[in-house]
């Protein structure tokens, strides 16, 4: 299934957001996720099913003003 993760194309076999994160090797606990512009809480990642073309964002702490 083709999806976009942080603006880069990926081909994944996982069906859920949690599965996609594992497949992509994202293991940091200090991340937050969104799918198609909407926040997906940590507890909801395992039950959030992905569809082809979905836009996933994985954000992490960064310096800010």
């Amino acid at each position: 299934m083709h999806i976009t993760v942080n603006a880069k194309p990926h081909d994944i076999s996982a069906q859920t957001l949690a599965g996609a994160l594992a497949e992509l090797g994202v293991v940091s606990p200090a991340i937050a996720t969104a799918v198609n512009g909407l926040f997906v809480a940590r507890d909801a990642r395992a039950t959030t099913r992905l569809a082809a073309g979905d836009r996933v964002e994985i954000l992490a702490p960064m310096q800010g003003g």
């Binding site: 940091s28 512009g37 926040f39 809480a41 954000l59 992490a60 702490p61 960064m62 310096q63 800010g64």
Partner: protein, 255 residues
């Protein structure tokens, strides 16, 4: 300064971006004595540097105020705020909804809308806004308990472009914490803001872009303390004409 029922031991808030190194950043946080630092969220990198930065920041003991910097729409800002709440484990959010990419002027209409959504969702919103009174009223009505008016455009270092407007805000919003958020460049700017009765200042570029960020953080802390003490001491009124300070009575006739 007390915001959202939290008593802060310093009137200075410090941004964490643009420092020459993480050592400069931690040095500046310590030298400023700030109680609050602002942080952001960006796309996770392959090496996972975000977690390291967050671990380092937590060790400073400063309370974090995540921002929605770079968001140009209500949905972007609301989604970013919700993501920040999960990562940083705080209901505090410095809400930015930017109207122009060049001027970084707040989109105050989107700001009010996003503030209402987030306040209803349990956030404690710190809105980056202009010095407009009506916008300030609408932000308070939306659930904000603090206002963060700009001093000048973000990162410009111009100081207070419109001190009269800030003075008016102080008079109009008695009891509401007011924190000048953007555009300060020098310690005298920070002192001037505090002399107007602002409750605090948020600095980033002014410290991070200084030749010696740690020394500037210390200078800013002194300026904020001096300005606050000056405001509380009730400065004299300005006069148009000179008034002799040395007594005239008893002056000798020596001509």
């Amino acid at each position: 300064m007390k915001v959202y029922d939290i008593e802060l031991h310093s009137n200075l808030m410090l941004g964490t971006a643009q420092y020459p190194s993480l050592a400069h950043l931690t040095g500046a946080i310590r030298a400023s004595g700030c109680a609050v630092v602002t942080v952001s969220l960006r796309r996770e990198t392959a090496d996972g540097t975000g977690a390291g930065f967050w671990d380092m920041l937590r060790q400073t003991g400063a309370r974090v105020l995540p921002n929605t910097a770079g968001c140009h729409s209500v949905q972007e800002a609301v989604t970013t705020a919700r993501m920040a709440r999960e990562v940083f484990e705080t209901d505090w959010i410095k809400l930015e909804v930017i109207g122009h990419a060049d001027s970084l002027q707040p989109d105050v209409f989107g700001l009010v809308e996003a503030a209402g959504i987030l306040a209803a969702d349990g956030f404690q919103v710190f809105p980056y806004t202009t010095d407009d009174l009506v916008v300030g009223e609408k932000l308070l009505a939306a659930g904000c308990e603090v206002l963060m008016p700009w001093g000048a455009p973000i990162g410009s270092g111009q100081g207070l472009r419109n001190p009269d407007a800030l003075r008016t805000m102080r008079a109009h919003f008695a009891g509401v914490p007011l924190i000048v958020d953007a555009g300060l460049g020098r310690p005298s700017d920070a002192a001037a803001a505090m002399e107007l009765g602002m409750d605090g200042v948020l600095l980033n570029s002014a410290v991070a872009n200084a030749g010696d960020p740690v020394a500037m953080a210390r200078a800013m802390a002194l300026a904020v303390q001096a300005g606050r003490a000056g405001f509380l001491a009730d400065p004299m009124e300005r006069r148009d004409m000179a008034v002799p300070s040395t007594p005239v009575l008893g002056l000798a006739e020596l001509m």
